[in-house]
Symmetry: C2
Subunit: 675 residues, 2 copies
């Protein structure tokens, strides 16, 4: 075995100090140092993420030996660009340069940097100092003319023509006149643009930017079980029942309608209500026990309807401005057709059985897992990719992936690239609740969205710390947090105990802290009855049909509708990296503002995190963000109630309480802005 290890390890010594090869590069590549580039993750080995319309602001340290003046360009290319596009970089301070470009197309962009010694700028700097010191600069003027002649030779197109009068004028001029021409501001641009690029140096590597459509970063999700769409415990729901629910979902303002698995459900070891191992004959089983004699991952559960019914559902959803997200759960019931068709995709035990899935002491008797290596490579990988492509071709462009952290990362990296190569608009959401590094790793290999720890972050300290982590540094570059307030798996203790006010708090936080968020049906009517002592729902919909009164008293549908409208109307809420927490002198009151970069849209949020008591606080209105003095007035539009009023001065006082207003979501309209 050691021999194989040696071979594997030995090949890794060759390429890495290849930069040495450029040391004697005659152009002088490397003479201008380009380093400490941002964004760059894992030495350039991990792409960063953006959505269409975003800007990529690139920073780098750029410097060279001696005192020569430098110039630098940011080079970028999008999926449709045949050549690099170039943006001049600007020196900021202490050898740090920056430039930005906008990504306008879904797909993979690359950027890199070139920098060089600019002979015209260096000459101009030097001759100016000497002339100002009263020294004779006749010879320097001759050298300046030489720089112009070289630039003229290199110029192409319109610039080449533009050089002609300049060259002619220089030919006729005396030294003083020459100098005047050479230093004139009119000629500086032409000269700077065309001057020889001495010691032209390139940054290695180029950094990849994966650009997704905007929904990857901005969307509101609603999750429901199609089989409950009949809202009748004695009649299995159908895709047509879901079609009838679409107006309801759209009226609440959601963009994405997400279904747990819709595939045939196995009968072997089927689970009964509340995850029991002794199902009644009419129990519907877990939707995650995928596959039966009726088909596997590319089939639909017969009681839901047909593929044609599903097609109509997708079309109807699109008509309502909704898109459908499906669950992608890589596991099989013992009745899945693959088990007989592809025994090589499974890990058979010495007694000829398959091990059911478990995470001791938890057992999942109704499913078995596939093997990605050995017999599974590459045929299983292709089959799984083809499952996603099958649904993508039927108009499903968002997949919520079940437990991706228990499947190999190389598989995800490969599959997401394969799918996006054919369908660049497909978005994968990683449903991983595990250790932080694995959750980040899934984002690194390509998941466009990720579940988060939001569900368990309740206090002001927890929320501010977690949002700081998500909205800065590497995380902000690659991890898009989808803040689900509840899921069929998670009935958070805060919601179990917080009552209606608790639901108001968590809905508001989810919808405004992150630009992507979701709720699972029942949330809007404050459903929270738990399995005693557990963070799970009693009579979980995972194992039975569910009936609800969606107009139950105390529902928070108006709030959700208002939150989703506020999100749509206010670009400040379309990003999650623009959060600024504000002073509110009460640990139960969380206050923050989100603004567009141009500050032409600003939303301020105040939340009483205590669902049981009235809380009061002095708090600060962020007048300084708009260049206003502490004594200024600012107009406010209450995005939940629709009211308008004016706040006078930076420090204000507010009371928030369960029976009144538990939260505030305000649009701030500074005097200069058109509101």
């Amino acid at each position: 075995m050691i021999d194989r290890l040696e071979t594997q390890a030995a090949i890794r010594l060759q390429p890495q100090f290849e930069e040495q090869a450029t040391a004697m590069d005659p152009i002088g590549d490397g003479r201008v140092v380009i380093e400490n580039v941002w964004p760059e993750i894992d030495g350039g080995r991990t792409p960063v993420k953006r959505v269409v319309g975003d800007e990529v602001e690139v920073w780098a340290d750029i410097f060279t030996d001696g005192h020569d003046k430098l110039a630098a360009e940011l080079l970028y290319r999008g999926p449709s660009d045949r050549n690099w596009c170039r943006v001049p970089m600007t020196h900021r301070e202490n050898d740090r340069w920056s430039a930005r470009f906008t990504v306008m197309e879904i797909g993979r962009y690359y950027f890199t940097i070139e920098a060089w010694r600019d002979p015209y700028a260096s000459w101009r700097d030097e001759i100016t100092k000497k002339r100002d010191a009263g020294r004779d600069v006749t010879l320097e003027t001759v050298e300046g003319v030489e720089i112009v002649h070289t630039a003229a030779r290199l110029a192409q197109g319109a610039d080449a023509i533009a050089f002609q009068p300049l060259i002619n004028a220089l030919d006729k001029a005396d030294t003083a006149k020459k100098l005047k021409i050479l230093l004139s501001d009119e000629e500086a641009d032409l000269l700077k643009r065309n001057a020889e690029r001495l010691a032209l140096s390139s940054y290695n590597p180029a950094i990849e930017v994966v650009v997704d459509r905007k929904a990857a970063q901005f969307s509101a999700w609603y999750e429901l079980f199609p089989r409950s769409a009949s809202n009748n415990a004695t009649r299995h729901g159908t895709f047509d029942d879901v079609i009838a629910r679409l107006p309801y979902v759209r009226d609440l303002g959601f963009d994405v309608l997400y279904f747990p698995p819709i595939h045939p459900i196995g009968k072997t070891n089927r689970k009964g209500k509340n995850n029991s191992l002794t199902p009644d004959p009419d129990d519907v089983g877990s939707v995650y026990a995928i596959g039966s004699e009726d088909g596997g991952h590319d089939a639909v559960h017969p009681q839901l309807g047909t593929l044609e019914d599903f097609r109509r559902l997708v079309a109807a959803a699109h008509e309502h401005g909704l898109e459908i997200a499906l669950d992608f759960a890589i596991q099989c019931s013992p009745d899945h057709p693959w088990i007989k068709q592809h025994p090589e995709w499974f890990d058979w035990r010495p007694d000829g059985t398959l091990k059911y899935a478990e995470n001791p002491p938890k057992k999942y008797e109704d499913i078995v897992n596939v093997e990605f290596y050995a017999g599974g490579l590459p045929s299983l990988w292709h089959a799984l990719r083809d499952v996603v492509l099958f649904w993508a071709e039927r108009g499903v462009k968002i997949f919520r992936v079940d437990n991706p952290h228990t499947k190999p990362l190389p598989f995800w990296r490969w599959m997401i690239r394969e799918v996006n190569a054919q369908h660049p608009d497909v978005i994968f959401l990683a449903e991983a609740f595990t250790r932080p590094k694995m959750m980040k790793a899934l984002a690194k290999v390509g998941f466009q969205q990720s579940y988060t720890y939001f569900t368990w972050r309740n206090t002001k300290a927890e929320l501010t710390q977690y949002l700081a982590e998500l909205s800065s540094g590497e995380m902000a570059e690659l991890y898009r947090p989808n803040f689900f307030a509840n899921t069929p798996d998670i009935n958070p203790y805060y919601l179990q105990t917080g009552g209606r006010a608790g639901f108001i708090v968590r809905a508001t936080l989810a919808a405004t802290l992150s630009s992507v968020y979701g709720i699972y049906s029942g949330f809007e009517i404050c459903e929270a009855e738990p399995l005693p002592g557990r963070e799970e729902y009693l009579d979980s919909e995972k194992y039975e049909l569910k009936v609800r009164d969606y107009d139950a008293p105390g529902n928070i549908k108006n709030l959700i509708r208002a939150l989703n409208k506020a999100r749509r109307d206010n670009p400040a809420l379309h990003d999650f990296r623009n959060i600024r927490f504000l002073n509110a002198w009460n640990d139960n009151i969380l206050s923050f503002v989100k603004m567009t970069e141009a500050k032409d849209n600003a939303v301020m949020v105040l939340v009483n995190l205590d669902p049981h008591h009235r809380q009061e606080a002095d708090y600060e209105v962020p007048l300084w963000e708009f260049g206003l003095p502490d004594s200024a007035s600012i107009a406010v539009e209450d995005l939940l109630s629709g009211g308008r009023f004016t706040l006078h001065g930076k420090v204000q006082r507010i009371a928030l309480w369960p029976e009144g207003n538990q939260v505030m979501v305000w649009k701030l309209i500074p005097p200069s802005a058109t509101g």
Copy 2:
């Protein structure tokens, strides 16, 4: 020009996401994630530095999908290793692993990491949980035996033989006995070592570690001008005069004797005393105006002696335990032979002249600079390398490089590698006082030592902040700070105004804060008369022969001798990264301790930074570092006076003042240590 740019930039899109190629690797390379490796600089593109005997402690995040147990090895190889050496890594916390290795040889080491899924450890973990839950594990036992058989097949050498009795015992045993054998601690090591390495994953790249001899990190430098070694203004000093001075230098305890350039000095535009442009006929000129009809960089100034005299000097120095460091200044007087022999190495102006060096408004009329590109490539590069090799072959193994930041970084990267390939023991010190990023970049391209801003860091806040920067993070991995207290170019204001106490302060700080430090002659007799208003010496030795009374009253030779002895005797002072600042409640009193990693040697320093006044402070003795309670006693050896005493308790009070003790350097001897 754009075409050339396109070509250059276009080639950089190919190799970088080559990791994709391994996504479908049948072994499963990449299934175990190895990332966030430390030390790793610039994504592995910049080597880190160590000296012989150092340890390299390597950290990485290592994790995989699912719940399988992992194992990892640190792989490293030195210049003489034909294969990778392997050290098991240990999981510390939160998916962070570490291991360390010792570098024993000068040259280039590489390290990387491999990690894999360990089927035996995973099996053991799972079966233990199931057994403890009272479940039947018959089938799991059969699977365990299979793991052993696979391991036995893979085992080689002694391990292969060791498996035989185990296999035999398993064959004969019933299930209970089999399980007992499989779980026995005696077999665990053998099994862990030989179990199949599933999903064997490799880190890319391998990180380079440049290992230098210890002098790169630990040495005390003394600088003198050989031409002043006669100590007689009317007689030019010779190498023989320097030989006569060697006992003096060695008696003070220095290791390295450094000379400014010793080459022939040009006559054209020779500088007079105090940098004047109107020299007297007998003025000796600047030693930095290198080259005359007597030769260039590989010749010695005739008035100093011959190459044979120099050979005797080097030999005599070695006999005194001193090594010689030479200046490597890449510039030429207008009389340098290269100007006629290699006009292509210079940048001629339109009028057929050469531009003298300048940094407006500063002018260096007596030197011209070479051109590294165009006509200089590659012949000038080879010539400059050969100059260094010429002196290295004559026993000079340390070069202080003059103003490296005004020469191309690719040249240094190339030249240092070329020289070290033939003479791995050669050390280059970068004399760059410029912007921080360029100083760091010089260390990145290979300079083994660097000048610093120490000369201008005087207050407690400045010193603690600067040392924190140097002793942690990337800087600690690649930048070895040589703390010169003064140089022929720098007569610091602090020394100009601080009197004898100021010299005591700066000598103590230089010698104890960093493990490499130096003084320029005259320092030991507190020479500080400035050019008025300037940070330079009056009657600078750069332009004239200098005569000094080295026994002048008030000299601090005893202090320097004691400091150098303390440095030699105490390994705690052989490093600069081990500094811990201590509480001393007076902003004028700096206190710190340095310890070996094993804490078997500890030196504590207290310095009154105020050279004019008595300062008192409560301060803390770092008893906690030795696991001692605050009330403990600790023995102290005063390394400057030789006295011994005991301190009782953590908080103590001290007074330090110019007429008494301005500084304290103590060896701490905790009760358990043998002092």
